[in-house]
Symmetry: C2
Subunit: 226 residues, 2 copies
DNA sequence: TGAGCAGGTGACAGATCTGTCACCTGCTCA
DNA sequence: TGAGCAGGTGACAGATCTGTCACCTGCTCA
């Protein structure tokens, strides 16, 4: 099921017809408010989101942040030309791609396919992870090293989960902030993340060296299993 | 791989030969100390544990508790006749069955098969659970109701996980204590569990009624999805 | 090579969590 | 029907966590 968030009725109609013709079901929302409400009710069945940047009661980024805190469903931003700067930023905040209006439907469909292909090798549902000598069992909410439990606070544990679900990938500070804090990290001090990274490192690091790498100017990355 | 914890060398030899003949690999341990060490190193590959009750440096229950905090691998206790009272208690602490020595190998093998069959329908690796109107995503370590995050403390969250992994099953207070506290719950006040049950209920319960049921004199049970 | 800045560090105040207590409620059985 | 007890409740002290601060370190570029 595809969620389209778009206040231009003509465009909405066009997209809807095109996507339905391709065999997809469609959900509509015309505002930030409506998008959040529809998303929360249907989250489980939505497998793609098309997201207008400018909405009558806010921006697509707000919707994107809301969704990204809950799911990794693909999101494509639809933007007017002069939104382009915003759109690029939006990618950092969790979008997978963006299209500048007006665009050819065929191109949109092609990009959707590309993104689907890219995310197709469904991450297997691992529930036990190894980070250095630490073993994390998310079904038990337990972290241990050499059989000894490592106690993590709630925020530390969730920070670790964010890294595990995106292992080996560079995560920007903004992305991590928005995963961890409900307000999208807008209202927490940037240094707070730095401090939690440090705390997590202190608990996880062993002789095998630093597990969470700093990518200067970019963000952090959890080392792939060595 | 089967872990045998037994200090009687003759019995150990017998079991080992019999199990190897049936195509199983075997790990040995002759004491509590050794059992814990072997278990911690091989936890991932052990799929059955035979556990003598009386060991030179302690009891099988200690080993059982250690393992149960980490895994639901099947455990059969091997007990001398006059241990029987303990053995029954041991089942409460997480054992799946017990055999009174001396026993027929054939009977042991039959019981092992029975337990394997019982646990065969591998619980699928769900990572998203619903409890009443609450949605728990263990890959994100998040609990929410109607899109609004419910904040759980570390102990509350792990208590919830214990229930989720044993949904619909009656959990005895002792079992829960040993899942949650590293000392097997021996050194925490019994009322502490009652209090955490209450706190978790306060956060999870909604109009659809109580999710964690009390089974008086027995323990607690998390309601199956209605 | 040193200015500027991204990220690291140690310490802190206030918030929350943890485990216990004393006491309450209400089930169950004689 | 009421004694006895399993489990529930509200409040609490001390421990831990949370987020911020002021300042430090060390990379990167002109």
């Amino acid at each position: 099921m595809i969620l389209i968030v778009e206040d231009d009725r003509m465009l909405m109609m066009g997209l809807q017809v095109a996507l339905k013709t391709k065999g997809s079901q469609v959900l509509q929302a015309g505002s930030v408010r409506e998008a959040l409400s529809v998303y929360d009710q249907q989250a489980g069945s939505i497998d793609f989101v098309l997201l207008d940047m400018r909405l009558p009661d806010g921006t697509g980024m707000e919707v994107c942040r809301h969704i990204r805190r809950r799911s990794s469903v693909p999101i494509i931003f639809l933007t007017a030309c002069d939104d382009e700067k915003n759109a690029v930023e939006a990618l950092g905040s969790g979008g997978d791609d963006y299209m500048t209006k007006p665009f050819h439907l065929r191109e949109l469909l092609a990009r959707m396919d590309a993104i689907r292909r890219r995310s197709a090798p469904q991450r297997e549902k691992k529930t036990i992870f190894r980070v250095g000598e630490n073993v994390i069992d998310i079904r038990k909410g337990r972290v241990e090293r050499q059989g000894k439990e490592i106690l993590l606070s709630a925020v530390e544990y969730r920070l670790l989960l964010v890294f595990l679900q995106n292992r080996g990938q560079l995560l920007r500070r903004n992305q991590i902030l928005s995963f961890l804090w409900d307000d999208g990290g807008e209202f927490v001090n940037d240094n707070t993340l730095t401090v939690y990274i440090r705390r997590l490192r202190q608990k996880l690091d062993d002789e095998s060296g630093r597990q969470i790498e700093t990518v200067r100017g970019m963000g952090y990355r959890l080392r792939e299993d060595s």
